[in-house]
Symmetry: C2
Subunit: 139 residues, 2 copies
DNA sequence: ATTAGAATTTTGACTTTGTCTAACTCCTGC
DNA sequence: GCAGGAGTTAGACAAAGTCAAAATTCTAAT
């Protein structure tokens, strides 16, 4: 599945293919997201990128994540009241959200069907439909 | 539909029916939510409650909203990266979210069906399923 | 090589939303 | 009236994110 085995060079290609100029910082941030794909907060990314020694500022991480979202390279996930998660998986999918731990798990959209949604208000267009299944440990 | 025409006394009853001791502040906060039911942020509630003259503190508003959520009197809505919305409508329903303006519109759950969701991870139990349809103005 | 201009990054102050604790007030039952 | 508990308050604090101005880096032309 996720055996894309990303390198810094393949991330640079990915950036170019999304019309993003691959700078050093952007490559590191992209690599952090795609190397081992998970749902990550901006803070986590900042920590990953600066793990060995600081080379990227907070502002750049926030700017870059926003850029990635605008260019459709990652998806924003609003599910936790405290922080936004960034999802390197841009294919249509939904999520389990474990409320207690904050853990997110993908639900592939294939096989999931939603029926009976009402018409959009006129002049509006759908930007995305997401299902969030909030779960907690229980009997 | 929403012709419940709430008074402070009916809000007090609602509080009691949820096992909440109806204090002055709680009644005002409840009244702000149910008088003209909308999806409201904590800040909005604080402003509404203190519109005439300040009588309720920020801490009480936050405490009380959390209490209402715990007791199942209102629902928390996490859909905007900046703030939590509180929803006086606790019946099962979903939402349109107009990304540009932040406007939320209810989608009654009756008639909406979701098929093909995978099994929950073992030992987990569903706390809620929500569909969010993000919309924007467009052709 | 030098340099102008554009693109990108950085710093650090700032804002917003929400949390926390200790003090204070209010209420209830005696 | 008074004790104790429930509820509220002020204000300091924290976390996440934003912003503007300065500094750096890159590019492409002289
Ligand atoms: Mn927050
Ligand atoms: Mn925020
Ligand atoms: Zn995902
Ligand atoms: Zn609603």
């Amino acid at each position: 599945m996720e055996l894309e085995n990303h390198t810094r060079e393949s991330v640079a290609q990915l950036l170019r293919s999304h019309g993003i100029n691959p700078t050093h910082q952007r490559i590191e941030i992209g690599f952090a997201l795609f190397e081992n794909p998970q749902h990550r907060s901006a803070d986590e990314i900042l920590a990953m990128v600066n793990a060995r020694h600081t080379e990227t500022s907070k502002a750049t991480v926030y700017n870059t994540l926003k850029l990635f979202v605008d260019k459709g390279m990652v998806r924003e996930l609003i599910v936790d009241p405290n922080k936004v998660f960034y999802d390197p998986n841009t294919s249509a999918h939904h999520h389990f959200y474990e409320v207690a731990t904050g853990e997110l798990t993908d639900i592939p959209a294939a096989g999931v069907h939603i029926e009976g949604l009402p018409q959009l208000p006129p002049g509006m267009v759908t930007e995305g439909i997401e299902i969030i299944v909030r779960t907690r440990p229980g009997r």
